[in-house]
């Protein structure tokens, strides 16, 4: 087993003798100088985690979290007053000062509170927000999130938490990963879930959590999409049917097999990982995508993702038109939607989010 070899190999790594002596000497110095912990903390330079920190490390790559409106066009204007700073985030006490205003360019009277947006009973369309994370982290300015005409200060605790969940991301080594303490919902195009007997029904619930996309329909049947090889472009790796669980070591079907389960076009789920460009052929169509930041679901027909530096454009062509979302290097986002191709976004009630009842496999018994 590779895992046994791993243990044998890693235990061969030993701390050099001189390192050991250096550490003992340093500890002895501290001991003799009676340094207190506070003094030591001040002495140690670097990033210390602050309480309630929402934004962490920087990546040299811009991280963009998508928040787009379903069924309505939204334009996110990010006002910038200063050029980009390439210095990395050095203090956990940063105040973000930039105001981000999300305006509904089609219907300004539409409710746009987070609660309204994410509550499927009130508003079945989701909303997405694009934010250039690198800009946020490096600028040292305060960001005020405004949804519609409700400034962040007026958001309820629940709404703040939802926003916090969106924006709490751990960025490590240039790879965006979700902070696993946050489970949040990605806006997804309408997806179809295919059950064992071939019945198709629209999937009504999507949860993204730690590199996995969970899709669940009304019957409780679920599918989980994972990233292939830990990088971009998901393949269907594990399918859970009606509560049954696939073996972790099962041979996962390649993406194409899922497409064969349905007459409808498959849905490709794209993830992002730093600056990597992925070229992937799916069903005869080549997808090129270089992405900074976050996970996307693309769907159906022909999807073309292009990027040129910081400009990212996703075009989904359909027989009756097309959909395009474009993010330019200034963080301006334009999302055009066909009326019959809404983006849905759902939020699990808190008490059901990743509970043992829903996902027993993930919990120790």
């Amino acid at each position: 087993m590779t895992e046994n070899k791993l243990s044998n190999a890693v235990t061969r790594i030993k701390m050099p003798e001189e390192t050991q002596q250096k550490i003992l000497k340093k500890c002895s110095e501290y001991q003799s100088s009676d340094v207190t912990d506070n003094e030591y903390s001040q002495h140690v330079s670097g990033v210390e985690m602050a309480k309630n920190i929402h934004f962490r490390k920087l990546s040299s790559v811009a991280a963009v979290l998508a928040l787009t409106a379903g069924g309505i066009g939204l334009t996110v204007h990010i006002a910038r007053n200063s050029p980009k700073d390439t210095n990395h985030f050095a203090s956990s006490d940063v105040e973000l000062t930039e105001e981000i205003i999300i305006t509904d360019s089609i219907d300004s009277t539409k409710p746009t509170t987070v609660e309204d947006i994410l509550d499927p009973t009130e508003n079945p369309s989701g909303i997405s927000l694009f934010i250039d994370f690198e800009e946020l982290f490096t600028s040292g300015r305060t960001i005020k999130y405004t949804l519609g005409d409700k400034p962040m200060d007026d958001l309820t605790a629940h709404e703040c938490r939802l926003l916090d969940e969106f924006f709490t991301l751990a960025i490590e080594n240039g790879e965006l990963t979700a902070d696993v303490s946050s489970s949040y919902v990605l806006p997804m195009p309408t997806m179809t879930f295919v059950s064992d007997n071939g019945t198709e029904k629209p999937a009504c619930l999507y949860i993204y959590h730690d590199d996995c996309l969970y899709v669940r329909d009304d019957s409780g049947a679920e599918a989980i999409y994972r990233y292939n090889s830990g990088r971009l472009a998901a393949a269907v790796e594990t399918v859970f049917r009606n509560g049954s669980v696939a073996d972790d070591d099962a041979c996962y079907p390649p993406f194409g097999n899922f497409a064969k389960m349905s007459d409808k076009p498959y849905h490709a789920i794209l993830g992002v990982d730093g600056e990597e460009t992925i070229e992937r052929e799916i069903d005869g169509k080549t997808l090129h995508h270089a992405f900074y930041g976050y996970n996307w679901a693309a769907c159906e027909t022909d999807m073309r993702v292009e990027s040129s530096g910081m400009v990212i454009r996703i075009t989904i062509e359909k027989p009756d038109g097309y959909e395009t979302v474009a993010i330019d290097e200034n963080g301006f986002v334009t999302w055009y939607l066909n009326s019959d191709h809404s983006v849905k976004c759902y939020q699990l009630p808190d008490n059901l989010a990743f509970s043992e009842e829903l996902y027993p496999i993930f919990f120790d018994n």
Partner: protein, 157 residues
């Protein structure tokens, strides 16, 4: 504050473990040395009363992995000493190969793999050490395992 004697004992007892965790996370000798040093200094200055040796060990690992993450956050580019690490371990070819594959994995998989397969921690224990949910740890173990096998088979078999 812990006395010198207990520090020496801790260094002797846990030094190798913390060093290899740091090396696997940081892939850099100098930074690993800093991480381990700072861990023991914090141990000396601020360690809580430990209920058991297991508690002490878990505390040290938690502090050390947090230090490693701090170091990773501070630097955008770092010297990757993987080649040197692989050269220096007194290893047979098999160990060399699997370690090489491990070092190529993303950091989040490396650390859970080490804690589980090398240090013998269970999922719930790892989740407490790393501050992640058990589900996340399971996912990372599963994915890390498959990635490691894939890499190892691809490169060395």
């Amino acid at each position: 504050m812990n006395d010198t004697g207990s520090i020496s004992q801790a260094v002797l007892k846990y030094g190798d473990m913390l060093y290899r965790i740091s090396i696997v996370m940081l892939k850099n000798h100098a930074d690993s040395e800093d991480a381990v040093q700072e861990t023991f200094i914090r141990y000396m200055l601020k360690s809580p009363g430990f209920a058991s040796p297991d508690h002490e060990k878990a505390w040290l690992i938690t502090v050390c992995t947090n230090k490693c993450r701090d170091i990773l956050r501070k630097r955008s580019r770092t010297t990757d000493d993987s080649d040197e690490i692989l050269r220096n371990i007194a290893a047979d070819e098999e160990s060399h190969d699997v370690l090489d594959a491990l070092l190529r994995l993303p950091e989040k998989f490396r650390i859970v793999m080490i804690l589980h397969y090398v240090e013998g921690y269970k999922v719930t224990e790892i989740s407490r050490i790393l501050g992640k949910t058990p589900s996340a740890v399971k996912m990372r173990l599963s994915k890390g395992r498959s990635l490691l096998r894939e890499l190892y088979r691809k490169e060395y078999l």
